[in-house]
Assembly symmetry: C2
Homo-oligomer: 522 residues x 2
């Protein structure tokens, strides 16, 4: 059974805050002490020895059951989550659907089995000068994984979110640290996982939830010798702190931190003629969920023209029609205000348009700024992410400046290009630069809305993430928590199922260099 | 054309040393200055912009041509390498064959195309509540890669070795730092690559060689902002220093350091009855190439029995019949002697057997030590790798001690088990522990001889490597230098070949969750 950390740490507890009513919620969630964390991680390691050996199909059933139990939480989950985050009901119901869909996607992946990338090179005892051995490769899990919940996705990137789903699918056990913004939501999810563990008879300790505000409990987790990998979604400072700590361990471990990005949008000259339509799409994307998405379009690059003037006017008009809305917490709102002030005060930068409202408490008024290419380059603070409903239009004089700006970009989760066929053929060089800067390159769409599927890459070069060679959304995410191993000259009967001669899983395998579902007859 | 760094750094140059004749060789190789290194890396980055876009088939031809040009170097390469390393002719000819085979394996991988793991999730504009976008994933190269040559494989893990072959295959350009033990060999290889670049019309700067003794030039390389990944084979201290520096960069980069290991060998009770045969195999493996392999079996664990006594006697007898042989350098020989002294002086440890010779200069006399389980646990220095022809037998009293020892192991490149069918069925728990400690688990064979194939994993948990999620040998190695990217809503005509609807490469792709070579008809 999942043991949520409810033992006493008399000094400290976490209480959530309702950003709509500006009230601190009553329920207290005790902060885990170091001893409690030790015990929890020790149990996760004990559970790992068993869980890592459980057949893939049973693991799949477990993931499916977690989804069922989450749905079984019914209204209590929705209401708790609304109270703790201020997010509207429809959004939370949608996010719950996404969370369950993620679990089911990984369950399907496990049932299919091809994800194991089984490779078999059979022996040749007669080879000269030395016989060729039989070598067979599969994927095995790394060990207990520490998962840090995100503030902005209380379900889809939290206790049973993408990190947990992919780690459990990989065969790892999970210790999740709740986000202090929604401990009650996470506790309910932990109960659902606990129920699923019971129903599907998984080892006790396969999943645990701990609570801790700030960095302390998290740092203890990263530094714990039995923790073998970290999944994190959040701020640059949070992710980088964990990355540095993990690299400094006597035995460094991988940290997969998704740290957000500015998500630049390039509007090419001919597409700018469709400026009104594009502006409408962009403003919708900028204010969606009060701008609290990692893929929020925080920078829009255009080339000066009559069309660009129309486009910018439309941005101004559109954002002017949007009312203030609630952010997740006072801390996030304060940070948004700081970012907005940073843009306001930057030389050569002015406000292009602003939404309605007075922005009291946790209410955020959307705002779009405008600056020149020159001011953008001269003021590094304009490159920083402002988490919330804001964006910055950078006006360039010509293609050369767009190219130069593209080259200056650091890593981003997404880069978007609006362009006609003609634009694209005239800007192949720009696209070629942009693909080096991101995990996802989007044409004529908006970056918000991260599809959960096989082909998705939600990642990208530093500082978007600490490891560009993977994704935190979609089935690619499973490989963060596995590693290849090969077995040399093993008798068929003790090989893992996916490597046996008769291919009992019926999966695609690389057999002596050829992808096939064929058996191997010795 | 490849520009080898031959500009003057009047103060410093590298000269190789012949460990057989104990003579410093005449030819001087100037150490690269920081300015020269900067220029070289800048060129590698310029070349990357072009090389990364060259069709896979052309990249394949380039790799094949490198192999041809290496063979064209003929006797000069073999003789230079013999002079610089003291390795026998047959070994160097064999290693050259392996090096060329590696290049050809990656060329075949590129021609095949399935390695790209192309994933396509097609759109559904009618999906509610929001339309499903078209998302397509492939692999792109990281950028210029710094490769550090290994001392013990002057060809297969050096200038045109596995790191370079996999990086070039991935679409990265390479700046290699020669090992000071064989700069002449590396210069010849660099010339061969230069010729191949000309013949196949690759961009200038696609490959460069720099020289530098010690850590300085290497650290400048790791810290250079245009270098995007590092491949390294060598010592723990060298690899860990590079890893730490890379993690401390403003933008951390991945370091794939293979840092050797002790490669424990477990001889299970029933197999011990075949002790004489196993002892013969193990001694051959221990002294192969004067023990200078990363996979040298440095620890042998047995359970006390009459058979174990026979087995140990046979080890003693066998190693006693082996003559001293030449190590790669005086430095390596000195380090071997230090390791031998460390074992000699460890409490409860004694010499089991020793080969013939007086071990002058670079000659190493093979030696096997013996210790008890208790002494092994109490003396941490016995767990350290002794690079050279030596091994340590650890005698355990019972299975429980073997299990405990297995649990104590850190990460190793290989773990070997000798066992009969009965042994294996009685020790499934031991095998389960051992697979968590290694990249390659071997049954009834020796760890030396790393097959270059698709299924090979030459890697493993820290401290065997700095990233267990990959391999430095075999085709898996290519993924060290690529990352996934996805294209959203791209028109078919500007997608990379591997993602186009009509599947022009004819490769296996994950199309809406199904592995198929089918085209996609919209």
């Amino acid at each position: 059974m999942v043991k949520e950390m409810v033992l006493e740490d008399k000094e400290r507890s976490i209480q959530a805050f309702n950003p709509v009513t500006n009230e601190t919620l009553k329920q207290k969630f005790p902060v885990s002490s170091r001893t409690q964390l030790d015990e929890t991680i020790f149990k996760a390691d004990q559970a790992f020895q068993l869980y890592s050996k459980i057949p893939y199909a049973s693991r799949a059933d477990f993931l499916t059951q977690i989804g069922i139990e989450i749905n079984n939480l019914g209204d209590e989950l929705i209401k708790t989550c609304m109270n703790e985050t201020g997010l509207p009901e429809a959004r939370i119901i949608g996010e719950r659907g996404r969370t369950v869909a993620q679990l089911n996607l990984f369950a399907d992946l496990l049932r299919d089995g091809s994800w194991l990338n089984a490779k078999i090179d059979t022996s040749d005892p007669d080879r000269v000068p030395i016989p060729k051995p039989d070598i067979r490769q599969t994927q095995i899990p790394l060990g207990p994984v520490g998962v840090f919940e995100a503030s902005n996705f209380p379900l889809a990137f939290s206790a049973a979110g993408g990190d947990t789903a992919s780690a459990l699918a990989a065969g790892c056990t999970v210790v999740a640290k709740s986000h202090s913004g929604h401990p009650g939501t996470s506790s309910l999810i932990a109960k659902a996982i606990s129920k699923a563990i019971k129903v599907t008879e998984m080892p006790e300790g396969t999943f645990s939830l701990v609570h801790g505000p700030g960095i302390e409990v998290g740092m203890d987790m990263v530094n714990h010798p039995l923790i073998k990998a970290i999944g994190f979604t959040g701020s640059y400072s949070g992710g980088k702190t964990l990355f540095d700590a993990a690299a400094d361990r006597p035995d460094p471990i991988p940290v997969f931190a998704e740290m957000g990005s500015v998500n630049p949008v390039f509007v090419l000259p001919e597409a700018t003629k469709l400026g009104e339509e594009i502006a409408a799409k962009l403003v919708d994307s900028i204010v969606l969920g009060t701008g609290q998405f990692c893929t929020n379009p925080g920078m829009i690059i255009v080339q000066d023209s009559v069309d660009a003037v129309v486009f910018k006017n439309e941005l101004r008009k559109r954002v002017g029609g949007v009312k203030e809305s609630t952010m997740l917490s006072q801390r996030i709102k304060n940070s948004f205000e700081e970012g907005v002030a940073r843009c306001s005060n930057a030389p050569g930068t002015k406000e292009l348009g602003r939404g309605k409202g007075d922005g009291k408490n946790c209410q955020a008024v959307p705002v779009i700024f405008e600056t020149s290419f020159k001011s953008f380059l001269e003021n590094k603070e304009l490159s920083e992410e402002v988490f919330g409903p804001s964006s910055l239009v950078v006006s360039t004089k010509e293609k050369r400046e767009m190219i130069e700006l593209a080259k200056e970009l650091s890593g981003h989760l997404t880069v978007t290009v609006f362009g006609t066929k003609k634009d694209l053929s005239e800007n192949a060089d720009l696209l070629s630069i942009l693909e080096k800067k991101t995990g996802r390159l989007i044409l004529n769409g908006v970056p918000t809305g991260v599809e959960v599927c096989h082909a998705m890459v939600h990642g990208g070069p530093f500082p978007a993430t600490t490891d560009a060679r993977t994704s935190s959304v979609g089935t690619t995410a499973i490989y963060r928590f596995t590693r290849p191993i090969c077995f040399q000259n093993f008798p068929n009967e003790i090989l893992p199922e996916e490597l046996k001669n008769e291919n009992p899983l019926g999966i695609m395998r690389l057999l002596n260099g050829e992808l096939t579902v064929n058996k191997w007859y010795e």
